[in-house]
């Protein structure tokens, strides 16, 4: 599977395994389940039955994982380091920047519409990932894809893509 492939791509560190990262998802799951339970305390049983059943099992499973991990830590086989979550470290700034760009993309697309926002997102994101190389090619790809997306989805299929000034202006033209 994808995950397994990825972990085999990374060289295995020797020494205790950092298992802290493995706990992030279960702990989020635990917090979510507790929150979920608070929303169904005072509701008809139909709304409770499945969630209490599944949620209790989930809490049990998470408890088992926490116990397993702490035993391994105690035995010195593992640490609570975050390990592969942010590895390789060199990519942390890039990933965060890409996340920021994605958030900005979603934020601006509702005002700017699909075509122009997508163009700028593709342009900046590709420049970010290419470390500023191949500017011309990236400009061309971004332009072609945003215009192509406009032609296919908005003009030809009239799909409900986010619309903005460009789409409105072109609507009057076509």
């Amino acid at each position: 599977m994808a995950d397994d492939e990825q972990s085999t791509d990374n060289p295995k560190p020797s020494g205790p395994k950092p298992l802290g990262g493995e706990l992030i998802l279960p702990i989020s799951g635990l917090l979510f389940t507790i929150y979920y339970f608070t929303t169904i305390i005072d509701v008809p049983w139909t709304a409770q039955v499945s969630a209490f059943f599944v949620g209790t099992i989930l809490i049990g499973l998470i408890a088992a994982l926490i116990i397993r991990t702490s035993l391994r830590v105690k035995r010195g086989e593992a640490t609570l380091g975050l390990g592969p979550l942010f590895a390789p470290k060199a990519y942390i700034p890039k990933r965060l920047a890409l996340l920021g760009l994605t958030l900005a993309y979603i934020f601006f697309i509702q005002w700017g519409g699909f075509t122009i926002t997508t163009f700028f997102f593709l342009l900046f994101a590709m420049l970010l990932l290419s470390d500023g190389k191949k500017k011309g090619l990236i400009f061309g790809i971004s332009l072609a894809l945003s215009i192509g997306g406009y032609l296919l989805f908005i003009l030809a299929f009239n799909t409900r893509f986010p619309r903005g000034p460009v789409e409105t202006l072109l609507k009057d033209v076509f």
């Binding site: 994808a2 979920y36 890409l98 994605t102 799909t159």
Partner: protein, 510 residues
Amino acid sequence: MEIDWGLFGELFARTFSFWWVILPAILLGLIVGAIPGFSAANTIIILLPMTLAMEPEIGLIFMVALYASSRMGAGIPAILVNIPGTAGAAATPLDGYPMTKQGRAQQALAISFVASVFGGLLTTLIALVAMPWLSQVAYHLHSVEMIVIMLFGISLIATIAAKDTLKGLIAGFFGLMIGYIGADVVYETPRGTFGFLELYDKVPLIPALVGLFAVSEAFAVIEGESILTKRGMAAMQKAGWKETWEGVTMAMSRWWHIIWTSIIGLVIGIVPGAGAAIASFVAYQQSKTFSKTPELYGTGHLDGLVAPESANNGVTSGTLIPLLVIGVPGGATAAIMAVVLQYHGVTVGPDLFENQPELAFGAFTAMAVTYAIMILTVLPLARYMSKITVVSTTYMAPIIISFTLVGAFVPRAYVFDMYLALAFGVIGYVARKTGYHVAAILIGVILGPLLENYFLRALRISEGDVLVIFSSGIGNILWILLIISLFVPMYLDKRRQRQREQALPTTTDC
């Protein structure tokens, strides 16, 4: 209903003469199927003005061809970039994507095309001949029986996560909890919605699908030059026509597998409201259960790709049966077809076979002809489609993010759904990086609410008697089958392990 073979022959000849309708519909269907957020149903709605203007027969052929090809289209990105185009293809990347990473994308595509086409073709023909009997399935699979069928699908969570069962189960049950977000089906009490009205009707599937698979993948792959492994890259650069042919022969060698997994799809498709996602998960789970090499599933195993692809195409013909025979559509696309036909004054239901047999049976001949034409058009494309995998992640990642996020927007036109997809992207990224299975989470999100719906419905009908789940004969047979399919692999596993230990006193870590 008497079977008139002469009529079938005439219908096939006639349908073939409409190749000029089928061909563009196939191309369109492949495209819309491949993009998350689009579906055959939406496309038919968008093209409604055009479909309504056509003769009912041509309109029906067009819709059927679009429907069948979109189902196949959804598997293409699932295999190439780990992004299922629709929930029905959510089980396809389990083995399809590992093949791609090994540089065997072309073979994987060819396998998926062959499995889809033959699964689709076979079930269409079965449907055509056995329609009067098959339509009875809908009368026997009610909530109680559907609960067990759902559990078949959900039990895949356990099988998927063979390497670390505990973590696999956590991912699956976390998914189920996420799937329970939203109002319950009886009293519509909102639960776990964080106050968002947009989550009142459960977690929308496309944003979940897009986030867990596509967005998280895009964030994960940027550390590599391409999504391929080094060996895979080398293999891809050498690839020619031979690889397509290899895929075809590999798939053909599994003809029996195609047959029985597509029949699973057909039967599940007949049940109104069930669907391709359930069918493909159930088929994958069954395929693994009865496999001699279950440990290979998830690593790019042939059978693991054949099963979901032939099953989800089996669903396509299945959903038309209740529509045409009892007038109850099996799924959203079938429902829209009914609307279009009604617009033309054609009322679907049993009378259709008496009054306009050419339309009723014509739907199935159109589907069969579509599959026949499709294999000829799409197979040669496998070689070119697979080239997308060598594109550098510098370009791929931003393209995947932007187009799939917009795809998450399309079904409901809420910007909220784009943020939701990003949130699922973060969950998916953490899951991938820390060894949890995104597919296990997704199975929970998709099947959890369905299971709850059937369960609550059954409980309500029985006025709160929990034992209702064992009240039906067919249901009980399904329960027994479920137990067998859960425990037989465990037993076989143990036995194999014992045999291996006897053969190899020192085990190697694989």
